[in-house]
């Protein structure tokens, strides 16, 4: 995974090693207004459908806009009261805690460890097995979200495959969807998301030169030691990146949970996206829902910053 030192535009770093790019006409390869024309459609789309809603959401979050009732007929500016209402709402904090549990179990630990484990096993296990298992793991990832949610709903349901298997080996049946729904949806997210980490780590591992391991082995380092003192430090950028990406993906998971549990029973699996949805559409409070969505974005941003600190010094800007 190569990263380059950032250099200002006017000072091409590689001019010494690489021939200067050929100049075309008087303008060289500088961007001019005329040459920027092809970029216009993309920027119109992004401005209208991405940037627009983001700017609008900052406005909405400070209003009482609603689908019905107060705030539906005419929208009023309400200052920070959406945010203070959220902080005073026990259901909001319940969702924050569940979101953290869901993200830590499924993304931070589950997908990352499982992905790393599979990437390491790919290097050693028998080829046919490797091919088959990676195909299965990738299939779980490539399947549409609704299908995945539905499959895991059947897997965890009281009459589902999980109980068929564990009662067959003599264990008592589990009712995870009712007793611990947040764990059920976390496992579902591990099932669905592991392939991503596996692909990232597998690509990163294959770029580690094998002679590094050989010299470590000659120095008497065992497999565990080689992993902790050679592999992990070399993979640090990949790990930090992957943690960030899986966290952001997991923070925004909606369909999987919505289909498996709908956030229930009794809000026990209502993560922030589901809470936001409920507030905005079941209760019609668009302004309040938007405020909570902004808080979700903030959590994502804070998490990303934390991971950036994990990056080695030379990779930081």
């Amino acid at each position: 995974m190569s990263t380059s030192a950032p250099v200002a535009e006017h000072d091409p770093p590689s001019s010494a090693t690489r021939p200067t790019p050929p100049r075309r006409g008087r303008l060289g390869n500088r961007l001019t207004a005329g040459r920027a024309v092809p970029m216009v459609p993309a920027f119109l789309l992004l401005a209208g459908f991405m940037l627009g809603p983001i700017v609008y959401s900052v406005y909405l979050a400070f209003t009482d806009k609603a689908i019905r009732g107060e705030g539906a007929e005419q929208t009023e500016f309400v200052g920070f009261s959406n945010f203070t209402d959220a902080f005073a709402d026990a259901d909001f904090w319940n969702s924050v805690v569940l979101t953290v549990i869901f993200t830590v179990i499924s993304a931070l630990l589950g997908q990352n460890i499982m992905g790393m484990l599979l990437a390491l096993l790919i290097e050693r296990a028998h080829r046919v097995i490797t091919f088959t298992v990676t195909a299965i793991v990738i299939a779980a990832w490539i399947l549409p979200e609704v299908v995945a949610g539905y499959l895991l709903y059947t897997f965890f349901s009281p009459d589902g495959s999980l109980n068929a298997i564990i009662t067959a080996i003599g264990l008592p049946p589990q009712q995870l969807l009712f007793s611990a729904p947040i764990f059920a949806v976390s496992f579902a997210n591990i099932w669905r998301g592991t392939a991503f980490s596996m692909l990232v780590y597998s690509a990163a591992l294959s770029s580690v030169p094998s002679d590094v391991y050989e010299s470590a082995a000659l120095d008497g380092a065992g497999p565990l030691r080689r992993f902790t003192s050679v592999t992990l430090p070399l993979l640090r950028p990949a790990i930090a990146t992957n943690l960030m990406l899986t966290t952001l993906q997991t923070l925004s998971v909606f369909g999987l949970i919505f289909i498996m549990t709908g956030g229930g029973p009794a809000r026990q699996s209502q993560t922030l996206p589901l809470y936001t949805y409920e507030q905005a559409f079941s209760y019609g409070q668009l302004g309040y829902g938007t405020a909570v969505a902004l808080l979700l974005l903030l959590i994502g941003a804070v998490a990303s910053m934390a991971y950036l600190r994990l990056l080695p010094e030379e990779d930081k800007r």
Binding site: M1, S4, P6, E9, P12, P13, S15, P22, N29, R30, L31, T32, R35, P38, M39, P41, A42, L45, L46, G48, F49, M50, P53, I54, Y56, L60, K65, M114, L120, R124, A125, I129, I136, I138, A140, I142, L143, V146, V147, Y150, L152, S157, D159, G160, S161, L162, A164, I165, V200, A204, S206, S210, P237, M244, L248, F254, G255, A280, T290, A293
Partner: protein, 302 residues
């Protein structure tokens, strides 16, 4: 290739030349052989646990007496497929998915290619901030902006409009598509276009008949990836479309399961398979290159 710093570590195109395979050690010693066996066993266990839900859907789809639990069908039957083999249940939702995702993927790819070209070919001061902005917006959770999007769409009367849903879906996958496309385009040397220019071809002509053909594999990766992600998207059409005759398969599967879920597991399984088949087939076309696209994506962010 311009000598701007962000192009060096990011181009997926050079990365799509397969990295040299790890040299397989010859003459396995006893310790390494036992490590291979242990790894294989571990892999089989993990694979088996990942396999169960997938096996369930396949077996249940051929079992007219399917239950929620995995079981071998006593009488293999195509009855479930026959039961959903009609316009209302299966073909219209799938057709809607094709219109929605095909239209949105077309919008995304056309605008992404046009946008990537100047970014790949010319130098400008705002390039690095622009590219970083695009990369950051790839990580933006769509879930968090769906409420303002819904509220905006209500105001401009785009709710329940296929056209509106196509534009939003197209815009939301644009950042990653631009990022991928620019990377692949950087892999096409500028010199080739220059000879086209000396023969009098304009920029668009050169892009269309010189650059695009040369980056066809990369374009295919970006287009298929965009389409696959859209095909699986549930939340966007769930929010923006209302009429039953406009809903794509992602949403009808949800309504199907909440309406008939208690009785028709086998039919649901058959529908799930119909709906998943296109992305599985497309994925097979992508093969290894998808993973490398991700590795490259990791490279720039890391």
């Amino acid at each position: 290739m311009t000598a701007t710093p962000e192009t060096t570590g990011t181009a997926p195109a050079p990365a799509s030349d397969d990295p040299p395979p790890r040299p397989r050690r010859t003459g396995l010693g006893p310790r390494e052989r036992s490590s291979t066996i242990a790894s294989t066993v571990a892999m089989v266990v993990i694979g088996a646990s990942f396999m169960v839900p997938l096996l369930w859907v396949v077996l249940a789809s051929f079992n007219t007496e399917a239950t929620l639990s995995i079981s071998w069908p006593e009488n293999w039957s195509l009855g479930n497929y026959a039961a959903i083999w009609n316009m209302e249940t299966t073909f219209r939702p799938l057709l809607n998915s094709v219109i929605l995702c095909g239209g949105a993927a077309a919008v995304t790819m056309v605008t992404a290619v046009l946008c990537a070209y100047p970014m790949s070919r010319y130098r400008f001061r705002a390039k690095r901030p622009l590219l970083l902005g695009i990369i950051f917006s790839t990580g933006l959770p769509i879930t968090a902006i769906m409420i303002p999007v819904y509220a905006l769409f209500v105001q401009v009367n785009l709710i329940d409009s296929m056209f509106g849903a196509i534009l939003f879906l197209g815009a939301s996958s644009l950042p990653y598509a631009i990022f991928l496309t620019k990377g692949f385009m950087d892999g096409v040397p500028v010199e080739i276009e220059e000879s086209a220019w000396t023969e009098g071809a304009g920029v668009y002509r050169a892009l269309w008949s010189v650059v695009l053909p040369l980056m066809r594999p990369g374009l295919a990766v970006a287009a298929i990836f965009t389409f696959v992600m859209m095909w699986g998207n549930f939340f966007v059409p769930f929010m923006l479309l209302l009429s039953p005759d406009k809903l794509p398969a992602a949403v009808t599967l949800y309504t199907f399961s909440s309406q008939y879920g208690q009785v028709a597991y086998g039919q649901l399984a058959a529908f799930s398979i119909f709906y998943s088949l296109p992305v599985v087939v497309l994925y097979l076309f992508l093969g290894r290159s998808l993973g490398q696209g991700f590795a490259a994506a990791g490279g720039v962010k890391g």
